[in-house]
Symmetry: C2
Subunit: 353 residues, 2 copies
Amino acid sequence: MEITVTRTNSPKVKPDESSLVFGHEFTDHMFVMDYKEGQGWYDPRIVPYGPLTLDPSTMVFHYGQETFEGLKAYKAEDGTIQLFRPKDNIRRMNQSNDRLCIPAIDEDLFLEAIKAVVKIDEDWIPTSPGTSLYIRPFVIATDPFIGVKPSSTYMLMIILSPVGSYYKEGLNPTKIYVEDEYVRAVPGGTGYAKTGANYAASLKAQVEAHKKGYSQVLWLDGIERKYIEEVGTSNAFFKVDGKVHTAPLQGSILGGITRDTSIELLKSWGIEVIEEPFTIDDVMRWHQEGKLEEAFATGTAAVISPIGILGWKGNDIQINNQEIGKISQKLYDTITEIQNGKEKDTFDWIVRV
Amino acid sequence: MEITVTRTNSPKVKPDESSLVFGHEFTDHMFVMDYKEGQGWYDPRIVPYGPLTLDPSTMVFHYGQETFEGLKAYKAEDGTIQLFRPKDNIRRMNQSNDRLCIPAIDEDLFLEAIKAVVKIDEDWIPTSPGTSLYIRPFVIATDPFIGVKPSSTYMLMIILSPVGSYYKEGLNPTKIYVEDEYVRAVPGGTGYAKTGANYAASLKAQVEAHKKGYSQVLWLDGIERKYIEEVGTSNAFFKVDGKVHTAPLQGSILGGITRDTSIELLKSWGIEVIEEPFTIDDVMRWHQEGKLEEAFATGTAAVISPIGILGWKGNDIQINNQEIGKISQKLYDTITEIQNGKEKDTFDWIVRV
Ligand SMILES: Cc1ncc(COP(=O)(O)O)c(C=O)c1O
Ligand SMILES: Cc1ncc(COP(=O)(O)O)c(C=O)c1O
């Protein structure tokens, strides 16, 4: 299928790079593709960024049949545009689609679409340290019908947003609340998929944690309410006695691409990574025994986010004196330098546009 | 606040009452109200039914921050328009809103809005047996922003759809699949709220059950995978040895209004209703011992839906010879006759428009 292109007649003024915030500004173009039962995905096109017109009965407004992805494009010093592990995002999107009964998207066409829309808006890719072009593919169910069943029509869109750092504070260690009332996901549910449901379910815990002075929540498993799962929109890592622990992928957490990247890098540095279930009690015990050296969260938006404080059952524990840990810093530096082309891409993670 | 009214200039042709299906056709008008942080809900209005125009970054497309309700209006023989327990739907919508961090809606204004929009489109209320005007209030998060946090703007809409029976087969006993792989909701999650997340999570199980020849799934709890929860978009009841069992409201299932209506009616008929946890093994044992007299599901769409077959671990059990049970029939007749004004409303469930 050929991607058709309609260019905008009225390009927008680009935002000032120094005041970029996450997710508020969008570029001049977007990619759109439609799906209809019997016909499959059709009419891939790049069009001027603009609003959707949808009937109020459109399924996505009622039953949350939607999936999304998040990845970034970077401009290297020599001007090359670099995508970081886009094929992993595409593969994960189709896993999410499968869970949500959304028809799979051809992975080659998907990559071509990302490249094409990034290319057309390449002047929007910011170049200051910490900035990038955030790429948000998403699918919504578009049948104008309010019965509960999978839609027979969908739209895939890819929108682009020039972004600064996700956390305004930068790489500063965060204060994380260990959530013991609300549950995000359980095995058998949608936790491993990138779909609205998980984020909708997470809002209340996040709001309550903010009120208590924490920036995010650490989720525990929904069954026994003790196993460490993930932190907000990132995966959680704990360095204990030289080894690094992170939750295994068992259906309730998102398989983060930054998680996988971090695991690969850590292993390449000779650091053992243990993907086995561990509990909040383990973490507290490690802390008491003086073995908890570092904790950090990994995600596309913030890359690495050191955890400075963990609040659990009314007590705050301080990790690594609330300083950025060595491993956190090294992972952050290595990943961002691979992304912006300053470090060699020995893992074959970069796809050039 | 005054509800303003803008009438359509181009009324649609009304569908033929004999061929109504669920949720495909909508009336000439809709109710809309906006919310903005700092300002609250504002500009309640009835306008011609028509599409929404939304930025692709609108939060509801990404993070499923949305709630909805479903209730019905009926036209009695004397022409009165009857709403069935609308205040319970309104209260439940605000419970859902609370869970989803959506600001509460004034309950009096909400009821007034429902009445006003039903009144303006009253000619759309079908009158043949089994038909009604389905009322679908829903709220969506409308910030054009792709960070994960509660939106600062929302829209409440109320749309109306003339409907026939939800199940084309009518009151025929259904074939239900006991789901043991997928999970809909757990305590701590969003199960008790009417929000997209739960329906999105349910689609895959429903599709797989259809493929196996069942019309819906019976959900088991997500923790121990054995306690009976609910059936598709309805609550489940089992009559055993003269007593009726249904799952208690513990956070993972929707507190159905038809569930409550059925419990009230059963009690008024001197039938004991037990709202205590019970398992699929209990149901199977009751069946083997010949004590399982009837099973049925309750919900606004279908009112009462007798369960004829339950499929569990590869075996189908037949309930009440796949015939409509006495209690199922009596509940269906009583509820629908209260709704359409043929039976006296001794419980004060009807609100007249
Ligand atoms: C729930 C959740 N967990 C983890 C992550 C981290 O995944 P990734 O590293 O692919 O960005 C994300 C999002 O990006 C997320 O939304
Ligand atoms: C998940 C779920 N359970 C139960 C019900 C039954 O509730 P009610 O009787 O209020 O319609 C519904 C919907 O109507 C539902 O969506």
